[in-house]
């Protein structure tokens, strides 16, 4: 296998972007990444695009070729493939690109992640997100997507004594980080009280425990390390890529409080990188709901099972803690345009490892982990990146 590096990154602002279209957003993120990498269209061997549900959000499928077209590459006939794994679509697209270079098939690959969610109403957006759950055996009976994560939270509180305050603290921390990120949907700090007093969505999760409905796009350029020198010297190496699956329905899993897909994807990645969780300097994890970050820090092996709530309460995962988590603001504050999320996580990790993360820079960041989940844990993709 060949070594693979991230050589360019691009991001749009995340948020309710009423004046921007799907096509404009992905073209903006892609062109930023391509300029950052110092490559041109003729250098690109393939494109992989992560999008969860362009069909339901903008009534347009076939967005692999569309993204190549709006990027100005239709006349180059670059192979362009859309990859889907619900909210993990972006992470999966990166893994496909990574594998295609590691295998020796390609040298330079552009990855895009995009979702334009606000062109449909709130109800339609919620129902589209619920298609990441089991439609026949969860959603049919009235379970919503927040409701499924809420059931993880209720059980976590029951088994481990996790509190609503600990859940809320995840939102407070991630909004504090988002306030330092000019691309974030929400750039103002929030109080613990405001999270606890927010409208209930699905007990025990209130509105401020949930990531927002967002528009946005992210892009990275991947290149074989031995071919990268002619383009740039800003290389961040992908040292591992792990992926795992599990049942779509939460009720069918081994344990309600553990995302086994996260456990397996991360163990696969740690093994490939020949490291342990202790060797990770910072992580971008999939906090679609506050409980999801608590489970993630446990299932990735950073904390003992049941101690995820304590991690945030004790400040371990804050920006200046021993393991900063979601320095970008996470899905919670940065926003969660689902297909873009997995790519945006790698953008943040790359900026941190280059020392380009501005006010939210983690001191001495040498190794970062990204964790992208589809559904309530049926798909998980983990990447580990290192400064070169």
């Amino acid at each position: 296998m060949r070594d693979v590096a991230v050589i360019g990154v691009g991001l749009t602002k995340f948020g309710e972007l009423w004046d921007r279209s799907f096509r404009q957003l992905i073209a903006e993120a892609g062109s930023k990444a391509i300029l950052d990498a110092g490559i041109e269209g003729k250098d690109i061997d393939a494109m992989y695009i992560g999008s969860m549900s362009s069909g339901r959000f903008i009534d347009q499928e076939h967005v692999g070729a569309l993204v190549a077209e709006v990027s100005g590459f239709s006349h180059l006939h670059i192979p362009a493939t859309r990859v889907e794994g619900a909210c993990a679509s972006g992470g999966l697209a990166i893994r496909e690109g990574y594998l295609s270079i590691a295998s020796g098939m390609h040298d330079v690959v552009v990855i895009g992640g995009i979702e334009k969610m606000n062109d449909v109403g709130g109800t339609a957006a919620t129902e589209t997100l619920a298609t990441a759950a089991d439609q026949e055996w969860e959603a049919f009976f009235g379970a919503t997507f927040p409701g499924i994560y809420a059931m993880i939270a209720t059980r976590h509180m029951h088994e481990y004594g996790t509190t609503r305050e600990e859940l809320a603290q995840v939102a407070v921390k991630n909004h504090a980080n988002g306030a330092l990120n000019p691309y974030a949907q929400y750039q103002s700090p929030i109080s613990l009280e405001s999270v606890l007093k927010a409208t209930m969505v699905a007990y025990p999760l209130g509105l401020m425990d949930c990531s927002p409905v967002s528009d946005g796009a992210a892009s990275i350029v991947l290149c074989a390390v031995d071919k990268a020198k002619k383009f740039t010297d800003k290389l961040v190496r992908i040292v591992a890529s792990g992926q795992a699956s599990d049942t779509l329905a939460l009720h069918a899993r081994r344990d309600i409080c553990t995302l086994d897909a996260t456990v397996h994807a991360s163990r696969m990645a740690y093994k490939q990188a020949k490291i342990t969780p202790k060797d990770v300097d910072f992580a971008e994890v999939h906090d679609c709901f506050t409980i999801a970050e608590i489970c993630a820090v446990e299932d990735l092996g950073f904390m003992e099972k049941g101690q995820g709530g304590k991690a945030v309460q004790q400040g371990i995962t804050t920006l200046n803690g021993s393991l900063p988590v979601n320095t970008s603001g996470g899905l919670k504050a940065k926003g969660h345009p689902v297909g873009a999320t997995g790519v945006a996580q790698v953008v943040e990790a790359t900026l941190q490892l280059r020392g380009d993360a501005g006010k939210r820079q983690v001191a001495d960041a040498k190794r970062g982990l990204t964790h992208n989940v589809g559904g309530s844990g049926a798909t998980c993709v983990v990447h580990i990146l290192e400064a070169m």
């Binding site: 026949e136 055996w137 009235g142 379970a143 919503t144 059980r155 029951h158 699905a202 009720h251």
Partner: protein
């Protein structure tokens, strides 16, 4: 999300009558029925036998939905739970005939046959199981 009539009709044995299946190789019970046992895999092919489940079990975890999908908007707030059935499988369903705040982990429940959704005011009515506190 509306299901086509045929799509609903195919699931009637499970949703109306709790028909699951059992692997004759390891005796594990599945609901909904699976084409193959994930533990025995090829040994189980062609040896999965239908079985009717009791609909009795206990609450493993729950939530109370305050913001519901369009078809359930009139019911909020309503509790949804994961039920551990006595035969082994876990399933998701609504808890009814009690106050939403009365649901607890460990609560014993039994299934009850109810209307789940309807396609508009004149469309097909979809029935299925919900759960209530066991007598």
């Amino acid at each position: 999300m509306k299901e086509g009539v045929a799509r609903f009709w195919r699931e009637i044995p499970q949703r109306y009558n709790f028909i699951g299946n059992v692997c004759s190789s390891c005796d594990r019970v599945f609901f909904p029925p699976r084409e193959a046992c994930p533990y025995c895999r090829r040994k189980s092919m062609g040896k999965m036998k239908e079985t009717k489940l009791s609909g009795r079990g206990e609450v493993v975890t729950y939530t109370v939905i305050h913001v519901g999908p369009e078809d359930f908007e009139e019911q909020v707030p309503y509790p949804i739970a994961i039920i551990q059935l006595v035969e082994g499988p876990r399933i998701t369903g609504q808890i009814v005939d009690c106050e939403p705040d009365d649901v607890r982990i460990g609560m014993k429940v039994e299934s009850t046959f109810r209307k789940i959704q309807q396609d508009g005011h004149t469309g097909a009515i979809y029935y299925g199981y919900k759960f209530k506190k066991a007598k």
